[in-house]
Point group: C2
Chain length 500, copies 2
């Protein structure tokens, strides 16, 4: 390793350490911090954040990157070293291309916007949020202008969350999804509905916790390198490959919330735990993108956790744990219950069959905003029209409509599609995995997940951020991200459940 | 406030934030971190530590301090601003006077010494640790040489932990303690011994936890600004005045450990919580010294928690909580049991009457080391001789003798006396408080602690690090730290318990 490369790695390792410290401040704030600590914590996060940014964007790092690009000109472009440099270089560009004054101004704006959004949602009054959202849109367009022109201006925003993903790609993907998912939902709506009343009764927290831990342990979640705690919003965080933590929350009158939440977060956690240990303290020690990360959480939550083979193994244990609640519910009814489809207003509560429709709606509005083909003031009406078209219901108010998500208030345009891409990628990987492990259903039926986890580690986890999402999916499955596998999966699964 | 002062405060506030982040990394490591996180945590602490040092010792801060010293020349020397500058200036001196290479070399040495000490203790072989301890002593002497000559070279070491305290002061104090405490212990040894068998039976952890929380709550510990968790070694830490956390540990077959531990840590915590809110994010937001801090923990643990008035209130509740264990133990017997005196080998297990003797022994050896009047190789023999003289027993081996403490292995010469000073200060404050609140016993007998806490807040807590320990004690009690009140307290209390 050249002296310069050693130097760059040492500097970047320190930046990783500082990022880990910030992640811990954040984890603590969401799990154990007493309320009195909030103000101080704000200062600590701000100080550490600006210091980390300062350290990372130092010209010394910029110069090393430029020198090493020349040095690496003839290196194998797929070597870890070359990929490390590529990722660091891209991160450095993103951090330095945007002027510091712009960042500060945008931080002030979004701090204000967060408040106006919360108030607007509380009072169901979009006009309170409108001026700030207009300003946010203006500044997002300015942000785009700091980067080289792309095929579509929205590409620059997408690239922040889903590196290398193009607006044309997502438009094409969602074009296919739209038609067939709307069709599927119509068929489901006119079929005999599923009963899930037995999920909405009292399930004591302690048993829920224990059952979730048992499942995560079977999945292969390593408690020597992780832990689970409670928080208001479940999340996964990591302070390094060997300290990856998940959180969950409990609803005593709706049992699926915590259990599927734990499977979901354990899926994120398994990804982080499976990254090549050589990538410790480097920017390669992370997920390829939000979408690929979501593919791992969705895979364990939905493709494993809401499948019949999984419950053939676990349902007797679950009935033992909750005899009065589930003793008289037969497995086929339980399976249908946890897979019930019901168009609803709120994205975060949506089921597998409707979820992507919530995303599509937002993505279309965001692209229209960036293209300038919709005015902010018209968003509520447009939201409701599209909602009716895709999900068959009309939001009774803006609080449960266009104002429901926090994302736009922090300027997160470009974020939403990653949720849907995660669904697609999960099934695309799943199909390939099924080819490689033909008896996977049989293994799951026995409660065995190590071959599955091994496959995911080898094909996805170990690479961390080395490959961009499209590249990773192509390498593993032989094609780019495509909606076909997901649609096949949905149509098969729900045709069977709803007898279509 | 002058522009320069504003600038200095902003820079120092950031240093405070970074220190708080380090404290959280440490708290997490001792409470919740999975074992896999250890290596990464080491990197994170090292990076944040060196960055904080770098930031604090920047010449920019040095120049501001010098300019402000001139600017403040005519200011009230007792104003918060003048004291702030004094404390920052002293901290800055301590951080900059020692060359960076020396700090790095010493860190390497103590890392090694920690291992040789642990091995030496495990194998009961002092000679394994001897070479490193000799080197540590040499480097401590070199450390002293970086500072202006003091009355006694040991002063410079004391000053790190007990600002302003002189070797002559502690020699005088311990001279008085030695004679009268040795005498008291002899008298106790020849009196009828106390029975505490009922403390050494099973007390379930859950009830211990709840009872400790009940007591801490009554003391005034604010759970909105703090919390309690479990750790191997109990400690108190703070990430700001409004986030002060304590930890405890449980022994199911020795109930006093957790309860008095909780009272002790709550005492530390109440100190930190009571600091003037104006001192947030400044170096004034801390204890005056380790000794003054220990005075607060000891006051709540011993002067309150091991007193008869306290148990007149709480004993019925304790009996209710542990009916099978304590139902047949009368209050006077319980009171004697928790105050049992028994010379023992290990400092951290020592009772009120013997504790100071453990300290005195160490202090005398440390001063002799610095004066050069003892050679390291002779420490084990000298330890045992003095131990026999002060406590009437001879350690059967070095592991339970001279090798028992970790302190010398990290170079912490000058640290031990703060434990004993804490005991003295606690009673000196207590006597003054009794004058100011004549019915304090009556209040405690009713389980009321708010007047006591208010007195401590006003006289001690609110000032944080504004005053040095001697100055603080003088301001509150009218005299410097003196052993008389403590000896009076010990002699009265134990004469009664042991019928001397």
């Amino acid at each position: 390793m050249s002296e310069k490369f050693t130097k760059l790695k040492a500097l970047i390792a320190e930046v990783s350490d500082l990022n880990a410290a910030q992640a811990l401040l954040d984890w603590d704030q969401q799990t154990y911090m007493p309320s009195g600590g909030a103000e101080g914590r704000g200062h600590q996060l701000a100080t550490l954040g600006s210091l980390t940014h300062q350290k990372f964007t130092s010209p010394k790092i910029g110069a090393l990157i430029e020198d090493l690009k020349k040095e690496f000109a003839d290196a194998d472009p797929d070597s870890d070293e070359a990929r490390y440099l590529k990722v660091v270089s891209k991160d450095y560009d993103q951090a330095t291309k945007v002027p510091a004054e712009f960042v500060a101004k945008f931080a002030l704006l979004t701090a204000h916007a967060h408040e106006t959004w919360a108030k607007a949602r509380q009072e169901d009054n979009f006009s309170l949020f409108q001026p700030d959202l207009e300003e946010i849109l203006k500044m997002r367009k300015e942000y785009i202008s700091f980067f080289p022109p792309a095929d579509h201006p929205y590409d620059t925003l997408l690239d922040q969350f889903e590196p290398g993903m193009k607006t044309a790609d997502v438009k094409e993907i969602f074009g296919v999804l739209r038609e067939r998912q709307v069709e599927l939902l119509k068929n489901i709506a006119s079929a005999k509905q599923v009963n899930d009343d037995f999920l909405h009764i009292n399930y004591p927290e302690k048993q829920q916790w224990d059952f979730g831990v048992e499942v995560a342990t079977k999945f292969g979640y390593d408690w020597n390198r992780g832990r689970q705690d409670k928080s208001v919003h479940p999340f996964t965080t990591s302070f390094g490959i060997n300290d990856v933590r998940i959180t969950t929350r409990f609803m005593e009158d709706f049992f699926p919330s915590a259990l599927f939440g734990t499977m979901h977060e354990a899926g994120h956690g398994l990804y982080e735990m499976g990254i090549n240990q050589e990538y410790s303290r480097t920017p390669l020690a992370g997920g390829a993108s939000l979408g690929v990360h979501e593919s791992q959480s969705r895979l364990w939550e939905n493709l494993v956790g809401r499948s019949m083979p999984f419950w053939e193994h676990f349902y007797p244990r679950l009935q033992e744990t909750f005899p009065s609640q589930l003793g008289n519910v037969a497995l086929p009814d339980f399976y249908k219950g946890i897979n019930k489809v019901e168009p609803s207003l709120i994205r975060v509560e949506a089921d597998e069959a409707t979820y992507n429709m919530h995303i599509m709606l937002r993505l279309e509005l965001e692209i229209a905003m960036i293209e300038g083909s919709v005015e902010i003031k018209d968003l509520p009406t447009l939201w409701n029209t599209k909602f009716e078209e895709y999900l068959g219901i009309t939001p009774p108010n803006d609080a449960e409509g266009v104002l429901q998500d926090i994302h736009w208030s922090f300027g997160g345009l470009g974020y939403f599609s990653t949720y849907a891409l995660g669904n697609l990628i999960s099934v695309q990987l799943w199909e390939k995995m099924n080819e490689d492990i033909p008896d996977i259903d049989e293994q799951i039926r026995k409660g065995e997940f190590s071959t599955l986890l091994g496959w995911l580690r080898k094909n996805v986890h170990t690479h961390g951020r080395k490959y961009e999402p499209q590249e990773l999916v192509q390498r593993v499955t032989g094609s780019k991200i495509t909606p076909e596998p997901y649609l096949r999966y949905l149509e098969n699964k729900y045709s069977e459940i709803y007898g279509l």
